[in-house]
Amino acid sequence: MSATAEKTAYVGSPVKRREDRTLLTGRGTYVDNMTPVGTLSMVVVRSPFAHARVTSISLDAARASEGVVAAFSAADLQDDWKAAMPCAWPVTEDMKNPPHYPLTDVARYQGDGVAVVLAETRAQAKDAAELVEIDWEPLDAVVDVGKALEDGSSLAQPELGTNECYVWRLDTDATGQAIDDADVVVTRRYYQPRLIPNAIEPRAVLAVPGPAAEVTLYAATQIPHILRLLVAATLGMSETKLRVVAPDVGGGFGSKLDVYAEDLLAVALARRLGRPVKWTEERSENYVATIHGRDFVTEYTLAATKDGTITHCRARVTAAMGAYLQLVTPGIPLLGAWVYAGPYAIPNYSVEFTGVFTNTTPTDAYRGAGRPEATYVIERTMDALADELGMDRVELRRKNFITEFPATIGSGLTIDSGDYVASLDKLLEHLDLDSLRAEQTKRRENGDSRQLGVGFSTYNEMCGLAPSRILGAIRYAAGGWEQATIRYLPTGSVQVITGTSPHGQGHETSWAQIVADQLGCDIDAVEVLHGDTSVSHAGLDTYGSRSLPVGGVALCYAADKVIDKARQIVAHQLEVSADDLEYAGGTFTVKGSPDKEMTVAAAAWAAFAAHDLPDGMEPGLEATATYDPPNFSWPGGAHAAVVEVDTETGDARLVRYVAIDDVGTVVNPLIVDGQVHGGITQGISTALYEEGTYDENGSLLTANLVTYLVPSAAELPSYELDRTESKSPTNPLGVKGVGETGTIAAAPAVINAVLDAVSHLGVKDIQMPATPERVWRAIQEAKA
């Protein structure tokens, strides 16, 4: 690594974001803000039924409607698709993956598309879509993930003869002791509700055809590179004919990590019609047409000795796939498969996932993806085990923490670094638990209607996707590397091109911090380009907290190559040996001759002019590095929630939330804190507010922002954050991922707090989200 790796002029500083001014003045380039001349507006006609066959469809009235240019049914477009919609993660050899296409004549979930209408304006397309005449034959639907495998269940995909998609297992048996022979065995069953991601920008695509059969696809996506590959493959296009641009993107949280029907429709129809085609999702449409998260039933067991040493963990998970497999649907449980022991040293490890089809919107990655589902059951059951053992809940956690790193864990992977004890200690410093317990006792003794509860969640996770070899071994179709290019322009300005694709994470700022430190230049000299496949030729995009620990690290290796080349140029120009040059802060000096020096920027000019370069050296100063990480990234930490529960109404409100996270080196504390704030909020919201609910026929009851509660500022407190810092030894920056930690940690902390508030009333379990009704009923049932 270069000598400047230790220099921290920018890395570690709260540099304000360069992205902000554009966004704050209303000049963002979100897809729906772009309307090239001649753009057609596309509307998708969707099934109102969860499972139904189209027995007849007439587009005549729609086609005759004012402003309509074209309308298509599934049959009209069937020859446009050279392959079914892609699923990149066949988790087992015999996994069932029923083919699905952008339009269908058998709807498998409410919202499945059956026709499209294209008109000159959005209003005209919407009006005409109302005129599409469809006769439906409703079919039996299966909705409940917990019942889909029962004998006699309706089938989501009757052709398969089963609702089972796959079974995947990971077992280790380090001690040979049977779980049932342990002193104490605690088994709990949990349902984790279906969540609807709700990025505030709904999805949008704009496909602009060019004169030579090429198409530019502007997409509200997290994955422009993956989208180009898979849209091209699905449509039988050459990748060279498809440019994908992710302009400003209004949040993702995993929901824009997918290849959707509308992406394919827009490109196919722009080619067919020779005009730009734009589709912008409406919010209520987003509720059915964009992937959901969670919907897991988990039976989780912890076994321990009498003194509280945990010997076994076992998870049996039934995970809803929805009606079809989207991009990584079946792999979501696997993203948590190696962390069902959490930060605890548990030698015997067993997980089994059963993927299940239901007639519901497909599930896929939603913030945390597989790891919140694991952490929730672990941390809930840790409290249950502590109660069973008669131990303090915090001390049970502390007693079982992994304390030596690197640590090879029961599931077989190796955690690079961490200090779970330090995080917990710091949490307790901030929390003042003694005062909280005293207040709790007082309120209990007084029979106060507002009871206090404290809940803990000590967690770790694996993110930073990911070592390509491991991804291959677990049957993921692609690798997990990331690419970066650093290019000096003649005057010393620096262009950075990254394969990551930010949608709120601030890479333009933090990547500039990293590069400016590496090259010893002013941060304003560094420009960061991303999100356009014609500029960033190779990359694997932004998801799974991978951008910094993979893409950010790639910047360092590209900088090394730039500095190495500059060293050769400087040595040549100063007529010294390259070995005699020392590099620091952008300047080379000659050992023993302090008056002789030359900057990287001066070397960049020399490389541009190319008048006097070493023999055989190519002109120009730029380098590309492609970095494949040797390990996952392993953040961890300790969170606590303090809640007040109104025992008369069941209303649970957060009073405090304290989070200590360890994400290794912090590049930009403003941005890291922002990621944690947002992540915690989605975890809190999972615990208290959000639940996607279907009726028994598969009709989504929570189908808009009125019936599905995304919390506002009024529902939430401010947060108390602090950090510990265990640098990752696997990369030169020492960084770890941070995008999902809050969401992974928060939900169990909050539910544990709610239960703590009412445990003295006899309440032992409340299903998420802990709505006032659920809390009130739990209290009434405990009384009865």
Binding site: L23, N33, I200, P202, D248, D673, H677, Q682
Partner: protein, 157 residues
């Protein structure tokens, strides 16, 4: 079609509108002022908030024809002479935006809240922004930004 006159960010526009056109689409599609976002279809998210005769309104809850004769300020009209409005500056200073999509509406709602003297403390700010949803920031830094801006604007309490 109805004839409507609007003054937006100080510029007067004479438009022929369909009676069913929502104000937000008049701003975005007729006038090209795409800074105002559309985040929902139930008037829940507040991304489309603008100032109408000085009051914050969700521009998806009004028809364009209802705004006939009105003075409207959108996010594009807030900064003057290249200087960010104190609320915009405070959002930047406090990292109160991430993806930025809800931000125009959040900023306009905050401007209105502060100017009405209602951004007096954390609780009031949180209640006052109840109609605006953000999925990225958890609101923590938005509250800090509004507190800062209220101070700068002399409306803190």
């Amino acid at each position: 079609m109805r004839h409507v006159a609007l003054t937006v960010n100080g510029t007067r526009h004479e438009l022929e509108l369909e009676p069913r056109e929502l104000l937000v689409y008049v701003l975005r599609e007729r006038l090209g002022l795409t800074g105002t976002s559309v985040g929902c279809d139930t008037s829940s998210c507040g991304a489309c908030t603008v100032l109408l005769n000085g009051e914050s309104v969700k521009s998806c809850t009004l028809l364009g024809v209802q705004a006939d004769g009105a003075q409207i300020t959108t996010i594009e009209g807030l900064a003057s002479d290249g200087e960010l409005h104190p609320v915009q500056q405070a959002f930047h200073d406090n990292h109160a935006l991430q993806c930025g999509f809800c931000t125009p509406g959040m900023v306009m709602a905050a401007v209105s809240l502060i100017e009405h003297g209602e951004a007096t403390d954390e609780g009031a700010i949180r209640m006052g922004l109840e109609g605006n949803l953000c999925r990225c920031t958890g609101y923590h830094n938005i509250v800090l930004a509004v507190e800062q801006a209220a101070g700068v604007m002399g409306k803190a309490s």
